[in-house]
Amino acid sequence: MFKLIENEVIKMISKKRLMFVFAILIVLITIFAYGQNQSLARTKAQLSQRMGVTATDDWRKLADQQIIDIKNRLDSPYMDEKSKSSSRVRMEQLQYNLDNNINPLEQSAAKFTTIFMQQAIFLFLPLLIIMLSSDMVSGESSSGTIKLLLVRNVPRWRILLSKYLALLILEVLVVFVSFVLAAIVSGFFFGFGGWFAPVATGFKVLAGQLDSTGVRNVPQWQYSLMVYSLAFFVAFVVGSISFMISVLVKSTASSIGIIMSTLVAGNFISFFLADWKITRYLFMVNLRLTDYLSGSFQPIEGMNMLFSVTVLLGWAIASMIISFVYFTKQDILV
Protein backbone atom coordinates (compact mmCIF):
# COMPACT_ATOMS: atom_id res chain seq x y z
CA MET A 1 0.00 0.00 0.00
CA PHE A 2 2.74 2.39 1.06
CA LYS A 3 4.69 1.36 -2.00
CA LEU A 4 1.70 2.10 -4.20
CA ILE A 5 1.30 5.62 -2.84
CA GLU A 6 5.01 6.26 -3.24
CA ASN A 7 4.75 5.03 -6.79
CA GLU A 8 1.88 7.43 -7.53
CA VAL A 9 3.63 10.42 -6.02
CA ILE A 10 6.84 9.69 -7.93
CA LYS A 11 4.77 9.35 -11.09
CA MET A 12 3.23 12.79 -10.55
CA ILE A 13 6.60 14.38 -9.92
CA SER A 14 8.24 12.80 -12.92
CA LYS A 15 5.39 14.02 -15.09
CA LYS A 16 6.69 17.55 -14.29
CA ARG A 17 3.17 18.75 -13.65
CA LEU A 18 3.91 19.57 -10.03
CA MET A 19 6.88 21.68 -11.09
CA PHE A 20 4.58 23.43 -13.53
CA VAL A 21 2.17 24.26 -10.73
CA PHE A 22 4.97 25.69 -8.62
CA ALA A 23 6.23 27.72 -11.52
CA ILE A 24 2.79 29.23 -12.04
CA LEU A 25 2.68 30.04 -8.33
CA ILE A 26 6.02 31.83 -8.42
CA VAL A 27 5.10 33.91 -11.46
CA LEU A 28 1.69 34.84 -10.16
CA ILE A 29 2.84 35.72 -6.66
CA THR A 30 5.61 37.90 -8.04
CA ILE A 31 3.20 39.76 -10.31
CA PHE A 32 0.73 40.15 -7.49
CA ALA A 33 3.32 41.42 -5.06
CA TYR A 34 4.68 43.85 -7.64
CA GLY A 35 1.17 45.12 -8.31
CA GLN A 36 0.51 45.60 -4.61
CA ASN A 37 3.74 47.48 -4.32
CA GLN A 38 2.74 49.78 -7.17
CA SER A 39 -0.71 50.54 -5.82
CA LEU A 40 0.77 51.16 -2.39
CA ALA A 41 3.12 53.74 -3.85
CA ARG A 42 0.22 55.35 -5.71
CA THR A 43 -1.96 55.54 -2.62
CA LYS A 44 0.86 57.19 -0.73
CA ALA A 45 1.45 59.68 -3.51
CA GLN A 46 -2.24 60.55 -3.64
CA LEU A 47 -2.45 60.96 0.10
CA SER A 48 0.56 63.18 0.32
CA GLN A 49 -0.72 65.25 -2.56
CA ARG A 50 -4.07 65.77 -0.90
CA MET A 51 -3.07 66.27 2.68
CA GLY A 52 0.43 67.62 2.40
CA VAL A 53 3.75 65.88 2.08
CA THR A 54 3.95 64.72 5.67
CA ALA A 55 0.56 63.04 5.72
CA THR A 56 1.95 59.54 5.31
CA ASP A 57 4.33 60.05 8.21
CA ASP A 58 1.65 61.65 10.29
CA TRP A 59 -0.19 58.40 10.84
CA ARG A 60 0.68 58.47 14.52
CA LYS A 61 -1.25 61.65 15.06
CA LEU A 62 -4.17 60.27 13.14
CA ALA A 63 -4.08 57.01 15.08
CA ASP A 64 -3.94 58.91 18.37
CA GLN A 65 -6.96 60.90 17.34
CA GLN A 66 -8.84 57.80 16.28
CA ILE A 67 -8.11 56.13 19.59
CA ILE A 68 -9.44 59.13 21.48
CA ASP A 69 -12.54 59.12 19.31
CA ILE A 70 -13.14 55.44 19.92
CA LYS A 71 -12.63 55.88 23.64
CA ASN A 72 -15.22 58.63 23.68
CA ARG A 73 -17.51 56.48 21.66
CA LEU A 74 -17.17 53.59 24.08
CA ASP A 75 -17.94 55.88 26.97
CA SER A 76 -21.05 57.26 25.35
CA PRO A 77 -24.17 55.95 27.07
CA TYR A 78 -26.07 56.19 23.80
CA MET A 79 -23.76 53.80 22.05
CA ASP A 80 -25.26 50.61 20.79
CA GLU A 81 -23.98 47.61 22.76
CA LYS A 82 -23.59 45.61 19.57
CA SER A 83 -21.09 47.88 17.91
CA LYS A 84 -18.94 48.22 21.02
CA SER A 85 -16.87 45.10 20.53
CA SER A 86 -15.83 46.07 17.03
CA SER A 87 -14.78 49.47 18.35
CA ARG A 88 -12.78 47.77 21.06
CA VAL A 89 -11.08 45.55 18.51
CA ARG A 90 -10.27 48.52 16.31
CA MET A 91 -8.76 50.32 19.26
CA GLU A 92 -6.53 47.36 20.08
CA GLN A 93 -5.25 47.33 16.53
CA LEU A 94 -4.48 51.04 16.53
CA GLN A 95 -2.76 50.74 19.87
CA TYR A 96 -0.65 47.87 18.55
CA ASN A 97 0.37 49.93 15.53
CA LEU A 98 1.41 52.76 17.82
CA ASP A 99 3.27 50.55 20.25
CA ASN A 100 5.18 48.73 17.54
CA ASN A 101 5.63 51.67 15.23
CA ILE A 102 3.77 50.10 12.31
CA ASN A 103 2.42 52.43 9.70
CA PRO A 104 -0.98 50.92 8.80
CA LEU A 105 -0.46 52.04 5.22
CA GLU A 106 2.55 49.77 4.84
CA GLN A 107 2.11 46.28 3.52
CA SER A 108 3.87 43.37 5.19
CA ALA A 109 4.79 39.88 4.06
CA ALA A 110 2.38 38.41 6.59
CA LYS A 111 -0.49 40.56 5.38
CA PHE A 112 0.30 39.84 1.76
CA THR A 113 0.55 36.09 2.30
CA THR A 114 -2.87 36.05 3.90
CA ILE A 115 -4.50 38.27 1.31
CA PHE A 116 -3.04 36.22 -1.49
CA MET A 117 -4.71 33.05 -0.30
CA GLN A 118 -7.97 34.84 0.46
CA GLN A 119 -8.05 35.90 -3.18
CA ALA A 120 -6.89 32.55 -4.51
CA ILE A 121 -9.15 30.26 -2.53
CA PHE A 122 -12.20 30.29 -4.75
CA LEU A 123 -10.69 30.02 -8.21
CA PHE A 124 -6.93 30.03 -8.51
CA LEU A 125 -6.15 27.37 -5.93
CA PRO A 126 -8.90 25.03 -7.22
CA LEU A 127 -7.47 25.42 -10.72
CA LEU A 128 -4.03 24.39 -9.54
CA ILE A 129 -5.50 21.38 -7.80
CA ILE A 130 -7.44 20.46 -10.92
CA MET A 131 -4.22 20.48 -12.92
CA LEU A 132 -2.94 17.76 -10.63
CA SER A 133 -6.04 15.69 -10.04
CA SER A 134 -7.98 15.68 -13.26
CA ASP A 135 -5.74 13.25 -15.09
CA MET A 136 -4.93 10.95 -12.21
CA VAL A 137 -7.24 8.27 -13.48
CA SER A 138 -8.36 9.47 -16.89
CA GLY A 139 -4.72 9.94 -17.86
CA GLU A 140 -4.16 6.23 -17.30
CA SER A 141 -7.19 5.46 -19.43
CA SER A 142 -6.23 7.68 -22.33
CA SER A 143 -2.64 6.48 -22.41
CA GLY A 144 -3.71 2.86 -21.93
CA THR A 145 -1.47 2.28 -18.92
CA ILE A 146 -4.50 1.48 -16.82
CA LYS A 147 -4.38 -2.09 -18.12
CA LEU A 148 -0.91 -2.56 -16.71
CA LEU A 149 -2.07 -1.14 -13.41
CA LEU A 150 -5.08 -3.37 -13.09
CA VAL A 151 -3.48 -6.67 -14.02
CA ARG A 152 -1.27 -6.45 -10.94
CA ASN A 153 -2.26 -8.60 -8.05
CA VAL A 154 -3.78 -5.77 -6.05
CA PRO A 155 -7.48 -5.12 -5.46
CA ARG A 156 -8.84 -2.24 -7.53
CA TRP A 157 -9.97 -0.21 -4.55
CA ARG A 158 -6.42 -0.22 -3.25
CA ILE A 159 -5.13 1.19 -6.47
CA LEU A 160 -7.70 3.95 -6.39
CA LEU A 161 -7.09 4.62 -2.71
CA SER A 162 -3.37 4.95 -3.26
CA LYS A 163 -4.05 7.42 -6.06
CA TYR A 164 -6.37 9.34 -3.80
CA LEU A 165 -3.89 9.48 -0.92
CA ALA A 166 -1.16 10.56 -3.31
CA LEU A 167 -3.42 13.38 -4.38
CA LEU A 168 -3.97 14.34 -0.76
CA ILE A 169 -0.23 14.52 -0.20
CA LEU A 170 0.18 16.72 -3.24
CA GLU A 171 -2.60 19.01 -2.03
CA VAL A 172 -0.82 19.56 1.26
CA LEU A 173 2.33 20.20 -0.70
CA VAL A 174 0.70 22.79 -2.94
CA VAL A 175 -0.82 24.68 -0.01
CA PHE A 176 2.45 24.52 1.89
CA VAL A 177 4.53 25.66 -1.04
CA SER A 178 2.18 28.50 -1.91
CA PHE A 179 2.46 29.72 1.67
CA VAL A 180 6.25 29.56 1.64
CA LEU A 181 6.53 31.18 -1.78
CA ALA A 182 4.10 33.96 -0.91
CA ALA A 183 5.91 34.66 2.34
CA ILE A 184 9.34 34.72 0.72
CA VAL A 185 8.54 36.59 -2.48
CA SER A 186 6.51 39.27 -0.74
CA GLY A 187 9.22 39.48 1.90
CA PHE A 188 11.53 40.92 -0.71
CA PHE A 189 8.99 43.59 -1.54
CA PHE A 190 7.59 44.49 1.85
CA GLY A 191 9.99 43.10 4.46
CA PHE A 192 9.58 39.85 6.29
CA GLY A 193 7.79 41.03 9.40
CA GLY A 194 4.25 41.52 10.52
CA TRP A 195 3.44 38.07 11.83
CA PHE A 196 2.35 39.27 15.25
CA ALA A 197 0.07 42.13 14.26
CA PRO A 198 -3.51 41.70 15.48
CA VAL A 199 -6.22 40.85 12.98
CA ALA A 200 -9.92 41.07 13.68
CA THR A 201 -11.99 37.95 13.29
CA GLY A 202 -15.00 36.23 14.81
CA PHE A 203 -17.87 37.62 12.78
CA LYS A 204 -21.20 35.82 12.67
CA VAL A 205 -24.44 36.11 10.80
CA LEU A 206 -27.49 36.59 12.96
CA ALA A 207 -30.90 36.92 11.34
CA GLY A 208 -29.39 37.84 7.99
CA GLN A 209 -27.21 40.57 9.47
CA LEU A 210 -23.53 40.65 10.15
CA ASP A 211 -23.12 40.33 13.88
CA SER A 212 -19.87 41.64 15.29
CA THR A 213 -20.44 41.13 18.99
CA GLY A 214 -17.96 38.26 19.09
CA VAL A 215 -15.20 40.09 17.26
CA ARG A 216 -11.72 39.81 18.67
CA ASN A 217 -8.11 40.05 17.60
CA VAL A 218 -5.85 37.13 16.81
CA PRO A 219 -2.18 37.43 15.81
CA GLN A 220 -1.52 37.49 12.10
CA TRP A 221 0.35 34.16 12.05
CA GLN A 222 -2.61 32.40 13.59
CA TYR A 223 -4.96 34.12 11.21
CA SER A 224 -2.98 33.10 8.19
CA LEU A 225 -2.69 29.56 9.53
CA MET A 226 -6.47 29.47 9.64
CA VAL A 227 -6.70 30.91 6.13
CA TYR A 228 -4.32 28.32 4.72
CA SER A 229 -6.09 25.51 6.57
CA LEU A 230 -9.36 26.53 5.01
CA ALA A 231 -7.56 26.68 1.69
CA PHE A 232 -6.39 23.13 2.20
CA PHE A 233 -9.92 22.06 2.99
CA VAL A 234 -11.09 23.67 -0.24
CA ALA A 235 -8.25 21.94 -2.09
CA PHE A 236 -9.33 18.62 -0.60
CA VAL A 237 -12.95 19.10 -1.67
CA VAL A 238 -12.18 20.31 -5.18
CA GLY A 239 -9.57 17.57 -5.50
CA SER A 240 -12.11 14.90 -4.53
CA ILE A 241 -14.68 16.18 -7.00
CA SER A 242 -12.30 16.44 -9.91
CA PHE A 243 -10.87 13.05 -8.96
CA MET A 244 -14.36 11.63 -9.31
CA ILE A 245 -14.78 13.26 -12.70
CA SER A 246 -11.47 11.87 -13.83
CA VAL A 247 -12.73 8.40 -12.84
CA LEU A 248 -16.01 8.87 -14.69
CA VAL A 249 -14.65 10.48 -17.84
CA LYS A 250 -12.10 8.76 -20.03
CA SER A 251 -10.39 11.77 -21.58
CA THR A 252 -8.30 14.22 -19.59
CA ALA A 253 -9.36 17.20 -21.67
CA SER A 254 -13.05 16.77 -21.00
CA SER A 255 -12.31 16.04 -17.36
CA ILE A 256 -10.53 19.38 -16.99
CA GLY A 257 -13.21 21.12 -19.05
CA ILE A 258 -16.07 19.86 -16.94
CA ILE A 259 -14.65 20.81 -13.58
CA MET A 260 -13.32 24.15 -14.78
CA SER A 261 -16.58 25.26 -16.30
CA THR A 262 -18.35 24.22 -13.12
CA LEU A 263 -16.05 26.38 -11.06
CA VAL A 264 -16.42 29.40 -13.29
CA ALA A 265 -20.18 28.95 -13.40
CA GLY A 266 -20.12 29.09 -9.61
CA ASN A 267 -19.06 32.71 -9.82
CA PHE A 268 -22.16 33.58 -11.81
CA ILE A 269 -24.44 31.52 -9.68
CA SER A 270 -23.36 33.13 -6.42
CA PHE A 271 -25.09 36.17 -7.83
CA PHE A 272 -28.49 34.56 -7.19
CA LEU A 273 -27.52 33.25 -3.80
CA ALA A 274 -29.84 35.43 -1.76
CA ASP A 275 -33.01 34.65 -3.70
CA TRP A 276 -32.58 31.17 -5.08
CA LYS A 277 -32.23 28.88 -2.15
CA ILE A 278 -31.11 25.69 -3.83
CA THR A 279 -27.97 27.31 -5.22
CA ARG A 280 -26.43 27.45 -1.79
CA TYR A 281 -26.09 23.67 -1.79
CA LEU A 282 -23.69 23.82 -4.74
CA PHE A 283 -20.05 23.38 -3.82
CA MET A 284 -18.81 26.25 -6.01
CA VAL A 285 -20.58 28.98 -4.08
CA ASN A 286 -19.30 27.74 -0.75
CA LEU A 287 -15.61 27.92 -1.56
CA ARG A 288 -15.04 31.38 -0.10
CA LEU A 289 -14.58 30.06 3.41
CA THR A 290 -12.02 32.69 4.35
CA ASP A 291 -14.66 35.39 3.99
CA TYR A 292 -16.29 34.04 7.13
CA LEU A 293 -13.07 34.72 8.99
CA SER A 294 -12.62 38.24 7.74
CA GLY A 295 -16.30 39.15 7.96
CA SER A 296 -16.26 40.43 4.39
CA PHE A 297 -19.03 38.17 3.14
CA GLN A 298 -22.47 39.18 2.05
CA PRO A 299 -24.61 38.17 4.98
CA ILE A 300 -27.23 35.66 3.92
CA GLU A 301 -29.59 34.05 6.35
CA GLY A 302 -28.64 30.42 6.95
CA MET A 303 -25.23 30.60 5.35
CA ASN A 304 -22.38 30.41 7.79
CA MET A 305 -19.10 28.60 8.27
CA LEU A 306 -20.65 25.39 9.54
CA PHE A 307 -23.16 25.30 6.71
CA SER A 308 -20.54 25.79 4.02
CA VAL A 309 -18.14 23.29 5.54
CA THR A 310 -20.92 20.70 5.83
CA VAL A 311 -21.99 21.22 2.23
CA LEU A 312 -18.42 20.92 1.00
CA LEU A 313 -17.77 17.85 3.10
CA GLY A 314 -20.94 16.28 1.75
CA TRP A 315 -19.75 16.84 -1.79
CA ALA A 316 -16.32 15.41 -1.04
CA ILE A 317 -17.69 12.28 0.61
CA ALA A 318 -20.26 11.72 -2.11
CA SER A 319 -17.65 12.02 -4.83
CA MET A 320 -15.35 9.61 -3.03
CA ILE A 321 -18.12 7.03 -2.75
CA ILE A 322 -19.07 7.42 -6.40
CA SER A 323 -15.45 7.15 -7.54
CA PHE A 324 -14.82 3.97 -5.58
CA VAL A 325 -18.07 2.26 -6.53
CA TYR A 326 -17.67 3.14 -10.18
CA PHE A 327 -14.00 2.24 -10.38
CA THR A 328 -14.41 -1.18 -8.81
CA LYS A 329 -17.51 -2.06 -10.85
CA GLN A 330 -16.68 -0.67 -14.29
CA ASP A 331 -15.48 -2.73 -17.23
CA ILE A 332 -12.14 -1.61 -18.57
CA LEU A 333 -12.09 -1.77 -22.34
CA VAL A 334 -9.02 -0.18 -23.77
Binding site: V9, Q65, T201, G214
Partner: protein
Protein backbone atom coordinates in the same frame (compact mmCIF):
# COMPACT_ATOMS: atom_id res chain seq x y z
CA UNK B 1 18.13 7.00 -4.30
CA UNK B 2 17.36 10.58 -5.10
CA UNK B 3 13.76 9.67 -5.72
CA UNK B 4 13.68 7.77 -2.46
CA UNK B 5 14.89 10.71 -0.38
CA UNK B 6 12.62 13.06 -2.26
CA UNK B 7 9.70 10.82 -1.46
CA UNK B 8 10.53 10.83 2.23
CA UNK B 9 10.90 14.60 2.26
CA UNK B 10 7.55 14.96 0.61
CA UNK B 11 5.97 12.49 2.96
CA UNK B 12 7.33 14.31 6.01
CA UNK B 13 6.21 17.71 4.77
CA UNK B 14 2.83 16.30 3.90
CA UNK B 15 2.20 14.62 7.24
CA UNK B 16 3.44 17.55 9.33
CA UNK B 17 1.57 19.95 7.09
CA UNK B 18 -1.56 17.91 7.37
CA UNK B 19 -1.50 18.00 11.16
CA UNK B 20 -0.80 21.74 11.26
CA UNK B 21 -3.53 22.44 8.74
CA UNK B 22 -5.97 20.27 10.65
CA UNK B 23 -5.30 22.31 13.80
CA UNK B 24 -5.74 25.53 11.87
CA UNK B 25 -8.97 24.30 10.38
CA UNK B 26 -10.29 23.43 13.81
CA UNK B 27 -9.40 26.91 15.05
CA UNK B 28 -11.07 28.55 12.09
CA UNK B 29 -14.27 26.67 12.78
CA UNK B 30 -14.18 27.54 16.47
CA UNK B 31 -13.51 31.21 15.83
CA UNK B 32 -16.40 31.62 13.46
CA UNK B 33 -18.95 29.59 15.36
CA UNK B 34 -18.06 29.94 19.03
CA UNK B 35 -20.35 31.85 21.32
CA UNK B 36 -19.33 35.35 22.20
CA UNK B 37 -16.09 35.10 24.19
CA UNK B 38 -16.42 38.52 25.76
CA UNK B 39 -18.70 38.98 28.72
CA UNK B 40 -21.35 41.34 27.41
CA UNK B 41 -22.58 42.34 30.81
CA UNK B 42 -19.24 43.96 31.56
CA UNK B 43 -19.90 47.11 29.60
CA UNK B 44 -23.45 47.68 30.76
CA UNK B 45 -22.38 50.22 33.37
CA UNK B 46 -22.95 53.64 31.82
CA UNK B 47 -26.65 53.17 31.21
CA UNK B 48 -27.75 55.66 33.84
CA UNK B 49 -29.36 58.75 32.38
CA UNK B 50 -26.76 61.46 32.55
CA UNK B 51 -27.25 64.21 35.06
CA UNK B 52 -30.52 63.14 36.58
CA UNK B 53 -30.57 66.15 38.89
CA UNK B 54 -31.20 68.60 36.09
CA UNK B 55 -33.66 71.38 36.66
CA UNK B 56 -36.26 72.50 34.19
CA UNK B 57 -34.42 75.22 32.39
CA UNK B 58 -37.11 77.87 32.51
CA UNK B 59 -36.45 78.74 36.11
CA UNK B 60 -32.80 77.74 36.31
CA UNK B 61 -29.79 79.84 35.75
CA UNK B 62 -28.62 77.71 32.88
CA UNK B 63 -29.72 76.37 29.58
CA UNK B 64 -29.11 73.10 27.91
CA UNK B 65 -27.92 72.10 24.48
CA UNK B 66 -28.41 68.58 23.14
CA UNK B 67 -26.26 67.29 20.29
CA UNK B 68 -27.97 64.68 18.15
CA UNK B 69 -26.94 62.71 15.09
CA UNK B 70 -23.74 61.50 13.49
CA UNK B 71 -20.02 61.86 14.07
CA UNK B 72 -20.06 65.57 13.29
CA UNK B 73 -22.53 66.23 16.09
CA UNK B 74 -20.32 64.08 18.27
CA UNK B 75 -17.18 65.97 17.42
CA UNK B 76 -15.19 63.30 15.64
CA UNK B 77 -12.11 64.61 13.88
CA UNK B 78 -11.29 67.35 16.36
CA UNK B 79 -7.68 66.85 17.39
CA UNK B 80 -8.49 68.39 20.77
CA UNK B 81 -11.52 66.09 20.95
CA UNK B 82 -13.84 68.90 21.95
CA UNK B 83 -16.18 69.28 19.00
CA UNK B 84 -19.41 71.21 19.36
CA UNK B 85 -19.68 70.05 22.93
CA UNK B 86 -16.53 72.04 23.69
CA UNK B 87 -16.87 75.08 21.45
CA UNK B 88 -20.56 75.95 21.46
CA UNK B 89 -20.54 77.02 25.12
CA UNK B 90 -17.50 79.21 24.45
CA UNK B 91 -19.29 81.07 21.70
CA UNK B 92 -22.65 81.18 23.47
CA UNK B 93 -21.01 82.75 26.50
CA UNK B 94 -20.52 85.98 24.60
CA UNK B 95 -24.26 86.55 24.57
CA UNK B 96 -25.42 85.34 27.95
CA UNK B 97 -24.30 85.01 31.50
CA UNK B 98 -26.10 81.77 32.10
CA UNK B 99 -24.38 78.43 32.41
CA UNK B 100 -24.46 76.30 29.33
CA UNK B 101 -24.75 72.55 29.70
CA UNK B 102 -24.13 70.34 26.72
CA UNK B 103 -25.37 66.79 26.32
CA UNK B 104 -23.60 64.87 23.58
CA UNK B 105 -25.66 62.05 22.08
CA UNK B 106 -23.93 61.90 18.69
CA UNK B 107 -23.03 58.48 17.35
CA UNK B 108 -20.38 57.85 14.70
CA UNK B 109 -21.74 56.57 11.43
CA UNK B 110 -25.37 57.24 12.28
CA UNK B 111 -27.78 57.46 9.37
CA UNK B 112 -31.16 59.16 9.36
CA UNK B 113 -32.94 55.87 10.01
CA UNK B 114 -30.69 55.33 13.04
CA UNK B 115 -31.54 58.75 14.41
CA UNK B 116 -35.21 58.03 14.00
CA UNK B 117 -34.83 54.73 15.85
CA UNK B 118 -32.86 56.47 18.57
CA UNK B 119 -35.66 58.97 19.11
CA UNK B 120 -38.43 56.43 18.84
CA UNK B 121 -36.82 54.23 21.46
CA UNK B 122 -37.80 57.06 23.85
CA UNK B 123 -34.65 56.61 25.89
CA UNK B 124 -33.78 60.19 25.11
CA UNK B 125 -37.19 61.64 25.89
CA UNK B 126 -36.24 63.06 29.25
CA UNK B 127 -33.06 64.64 27.91
CA UNK B 128 -34.99 66.00 24.95
CA UNK B 129 -37.62 67.56 27.16
CA UNK B 130 -34.98 69.39 29.18
CA UNK B 131 -33.10 70.85 26.23
CA UNK B 132 -33.41 74.42 25.06
CA UNK B 133 -31.35 73.92 21.94
CA UNK B 134 -31.12 70.75 19.92
CA UNK B 135 -28.34 70.57 17.38
CA UNK B 136 -28.83 67.91 14.72
CA UNK B 137 -26.26 66.78 12.20
CA UNK B 138 -27.40 63.87 10.04
CA UNK B 139 -27.42 62.76 6.43
CA UNK B 140 -23.72 62.61 5.62
CA UNK B 141 -23.66 58.87 6.04
CA UNK B 142 -26.83 58.50 4.00
CA UNK B 143 -25.16 60.25 1.08
CA UNK B 144 -21.68 58.86 1.41
CA UNK B 145 -22.60 55.42 0.18
CA UNK B 146 -23.77 56.56 -3.24
CA UNK B 147 -20.79 58.80 -3.98
CA UNK B 148 -18.71 56.07 -5.57
CA UNK B 149 -21.39 55.06 -8.07
CA UNK B 150 -21.34 56.12 -11.70
CA UNK B 151 -23.46 59.06 -12.72
CA UNK B 152 -26.49 57.15 -13.92
CA UNK B 153 -26.74 54.86 -10.94
CA UNK B 154 -25.97 57.77 -8.68
CA UNK B 155 -28.95 59.72 -9.96
CA UNK B 156 -31.32 56.81 -9.31
CA UNK B 157 -29.88 55.90 -5.95
CA UNK B 158 -29.83 59.52 -4.91
CA UNK B 159 -33.55 59.87 -5.47
CA UNK B 160 -34.25 56.77 -3.39
CA UNK B 161 -31.93 57.84 -0.60
CA UNK B 162 -33.21 61.39 -0.51
CA UNK B 163 -36.81 60.27 -0.29
CA UNK B 164 -36.18 57.86 2.54
CA UNK B 165 -34.00 60.44 4.27
CA UNK B 166 -36.69 63.11 4.08
CA UNK B 167 -39.30 60.70 5.36
CA UNK B 168 -37.03 59.81 8.27
CA UNK B 169 -36.36 63.43 9.10
CA UNK B 170 -40.06 64.21 9.01
CA UNK B 171 -40.74 61.43 11.50
CA UNK B 172 -37.76 62.44 13.59
CA UNK B 173 -39.02 66.00 13.89
CA UNK B 174 -42.42 64.68 14.83
CA UNK B 175 -41.04 62.52 17.67
CA UNK B 176 -38.81 65.33 18.76
CA UNK B 177 -41.65 67.79 18.94
CA UNK B 178 -43.72 65.33 20.87
CA UNK B 179 -41.05 65.22 23.55
CA UNK B 180 -40.27 68.91 23.45
CA UNK B 181 -42.47 71.37 21.55
CA UNK B 182 -40.51 74.49 22.49
CA UNK B 183 -36.81 73.98 21.92
CA UNK B 184 -34.90 75.57 19.07
CA UNK B 185 -33.81 72.96 16.55
CA UNK B 186 -30.54 73.77 14.80
CA UNK B 187 -30.02 71.59 11.77
CA UNK B 188 -26.61 71.47 10.11
CA UNK B 189 -26.44 71.26 6.34
CA UNK B 190 -24.10 68.95 4.47
CA UNK B 191 -20.78 70.06 3.07
CA UNK B 192 -18.54 68.48 0.49
CA UNK B 193 -15.29 67.27 2.04
CA UNK B 194 -13.88 65.97 -1.24
CA UNK B 195 -12.08 68.35 -3.53
CA UNK B 196 -12.56 65.89 -6.34
CA UNK B 197 -16.34 65.57 -6.18
CA UNK B 198 -17.11 68.94 -7.70
CA UNK B 199 -18.61 68.03 -11.03
CA UNK B 200 -21.78 69.89 -11.98
CA UNK B 201 -23.74 66.77 -11.20
CA UNK B 202 -22.29 66.34 -7.71
CA UNK B 203 -22.91 69.98 -6.86
CA UNK B 204 -26.49 69.71 -8.03
CA UNK B 205 -27.07 66.67 -5.86
CA UNK B 206 -25.59 68.33 -2.80
CA UNK B 207 -27.66 71.47 -3.33
CA UNK B 208 -30.85 69.49 -3.86
CA UNK B 209 -30.20 67.59 -0.67
CA UNK B 210 -29.55 70.72 1.36
CA UNK B 211 -32.43 72.62 -0.18
CA UNK B 212 -34.98 69.90 0.53
CA UNK B 213 -33.64 69.53 4.05
CA UNK B 214 -33.93 73.23 4.66
CA UNK B 215 -37.51 73.28 3.37
CA UNK B 216 -38.41 70.55 5.77
CA UNK B 217 -36.59 71.88 8.81
CA UNK B 218 -37.85 75.41 8.52
CA UNK B 219 -41.46 74.33 8.17
CA UNK B 220 -41.10 73.91 11.87
CA UNK B 221 -41.45 77.40 13.34
CA UNK B 222 -38.58 76.91 15.72
CA UNK B 223 -36.23 75.14 13.38
CA UNK B 224 -33.25 76.72 11.72
CA UNK B 225 -31.06 75.33 8.97
CA UNK B 226 -27.39 76.28 9.16
CA UNK B 227 -25.53 75.78 5.87
CA UNK B 228 -21.96 74.60 6.09
CA UNK B 229 -20.98 73.95 2.49
CA UNK B 230 -20.27 77.61 1.75
CA UNK B 231 -18.12 77.90 4.83
CA UNK B 232 -15.98 74.93 3.91
CA UNK B 233 -15.90 75.14 0.15
CA UNK B 234 -12.66 77.11 -0.15
CA UNK B 235 -11.34 76.17 3.26
CA UNK B 236 -11.07 72.42 3.03
CA UNK B 237 -7.38 72.45 3.85
CA UNK B 238 -7.97 74.60 6.91
CA UNK B 239 -11.16 73.13 8.30
CA UNK B 240 -11.08 69.45 7.42
CA UNK B 241 -9.26 67.06 9.71
CA UNK B 242 -6.64 64.51 8.77
CA UNK B 243 -9.19 61.80 8.13
CA UNK B 244 -10.36 63.84 5.15
CA UNK B 245 -14.00 63.77 6.15
CA UNK B 246 -14.76 65.42 9.47
CA UNK B 247 -14.09 69.03 10.44
CA UNK B 248 -11.01 69.64 12.55
CA UNK B 249 -10.75 71.85 15.58
CA UNK B 250 -10.75 75.05 13.53
CA UNK B 251 -13.65 73.72 11.47
CA UNK B 252 -15.77 73.03 14.53
CA UNK B 253 -14.98 76.46 15.86
CA UNK B 254 -15.96 78.13 12.62
CA UNK B 255 -19.28 76.32 12.50
CA UNK B 256 -19.89 76.97 16.20
CA UNK B 257 -19.26 80.62 15.62
CA UNK B 258 -21.79 80.69 12.81
CA UNK B 259 -24.38 78.87 14.92
CA UNK B 260 -23.91 81.21 17.84
CA UNK B 261 -24.37 84.23 15.59
CA UNK B 262 -27.59 82.80 14.17
CA UNK B 263 -29.22 82.28 17.54
CA UNK B 264 -27.62 85.22 19.34
CA UNK B 265 -30.79 87.14 20.05
CA UNK B 266 -32.58 84.05 21.29
CA UNK B 267 -29.78 83.30 23.71
CA UNK B 268 -29.61 86.86 24.89
CA UNK B 269 -33.36 87.05 25.31
CA UNK B 270 -33.87 83.79 27.15
Amino acid sequence: MLKKSMWYTILTIASVGFIVLAIGFYQAIIVTTAVNPQPTSKAAVPQTTPNSTKLPSKNANSFKVLLLGDSIAKGTGDENSKGFAGYLPDYFKNSTAKDILVENAGIDGLESIGLLEQLQSQKLDKTLADSDFILISIGGNDVRRILSLNDLAKEDQFKVRLDSYLANIKQTMKSLRKANPNSIVIFLGLYNPYEKANSVEDIRLLNTWNYDTQQLVEQDGKGIFIPTSDLLKFNLGRYISKDGLHPNSAGYQAISNRISKSVETIIAGS
